[in-house]
C-alpha cells in the first residue's frame, strides 16, 4: 500500500515536471571597450579633446539577439546632465558578438556624444608628451553601455575615459 502511494507521488511529480519548459535567460558577456588613444604610463584608454578620438565597444550575447543598445555618457568634471544615445541600428554583428566604433567624438558644451558612428576598426595611438606644453588631463567621461536582448535580459558595463587636452598631433 505504501509502495503504491509512493509510486503515485512519483508518477504525479514526473507528470508535473514533464510539463515544465525551462528557459534559460540569454547572457550578455565579454564587454570590451576601445579608443584611439591610450596613456603611456598605464595603457589606460583615454580620449583627446584636441585630436580625433573615437570610442569602441563590443559584447557577446549568448542567443545572438539584441533589441536595444544605449550609450550613456556622464561627465565627472563638467557636471553636465547625462546624455543617452540609442546605437542599436549601428551595431556590427559577427556570430554572437556585437561591436560598435564611433565616428570622431565632439567635446565641449555640445560635445559627447554628437557624432554618428561609422564601422571602422580601432587602433591605439600612444600619447607622447611634448616638452613645451604637455598633454594634461582635463576631464573624465564615463561611458555606460546598456544592452537589452530580444528576450528582455538587460545588462550594462561602464568604462571611465580620462579626457586629455594638448595631445600631440599624430
Amino acid at each position: 500500500m505504501r509502495k503504491i502511494a509512493l509510486f503515485s507521488i512519483f508518477a504525479v511529480l514526473a507528470l508535473v515536471l514533464s510539463s515544465c519548459v525551462i528557459v534559460a535567460a540569454p547572457t550578455i558577456s565579454n564587454f570590451e571597450f576601445g579608443s584611439d588613444w591610450k596613456r603611456t604610463s598605464d595603457n589606460a584608454l583615454v580620449l583627446c579633446s584636441n585630436q580625433s578620438s573615437r570610442i569602441a565597444y563590443s559584447f557577446t550575447v549568448s542567443d545572438g539577439t539584441v533589441a536595444k543598445v544605449v550609450e550613456i555618457y556622464h561627465g565627472n568634471i563638467s557636471g553636465r546632465p547625462d546624455q543617452s544615445v540609442d546605437r542599436t541600428a549601428l551595431l556590427s554583428k559577427s556570430g554572437n558578438t556585437f561591436s560598435y566604433v564611433s565616428a570622431p567624438l565632439g567635446f565641449g558644451n555640445n560635445g559627447i556624444p554628437q557624432s554618428i558612428g561609422g564601422k571602422v576598426s580601432t587602433q591605439a595611438i600612444t600619447i607622447t608628451p611634448t616638452p613645451t606644453v604637455p598633454a594634461s588631463k582635463t576631464g573624465e567621461t564615463v561611458l555606460t553601455v546598456q544592452v537589452t536582448t530580444s528576450a528582455g535580459t538587460t545588462q550594462s558595463a561602464s568604462y571611465q575615459y580620462d579626457v586629455y587636452s594638448n595631445c600631440p598631433t599624430n
Partner: protein
Amino acid sequence: MIYRLLAATLLALVLSSCILLVDDPSPQPVTKNPITPTVVQIAPPGVGSYTYTCKTGTVVVNYLSTNQVRVYYDGAFQTLSYSKNSPTLIYTDGKYTWEWTGKTGNLKLNNQIALEACIL
C-alpha cells in the same frame, strides 16, 4: 507793363536758383559735455560650471564666486583667486592663471600658455 512783369518773373526765377554763400558769423562758444574715462571691467560669467573649448582641447572652469574659480587641469581641480578685472579678468594661484577677456579665455601654467582661445 507786360515787359516789367516778364522782367520781374525772370528775375524771380534767376534768384530762386541762386545759392547764397554767406560767411559764417563769428563762432559761438560750445559747451562740451564732460567725458570721464571709465576703466573697462570684465565681469565673470556667473557662478556655475562652464566647459570651454580651446585651441588645443577643452577645460572645465567652475566659478565659485566673483573671488574664486576652480579650473580642472593636470587631473585635479586648481583653486585660483581673483587677481584683477581690468583690462582682463584674471584668477591665479601663482602657478596656474585663468584669464577671461569677456569673449575668450586663456589658461597659463607658469606664465606659459597651456590652453588658448577658449570659448564657451
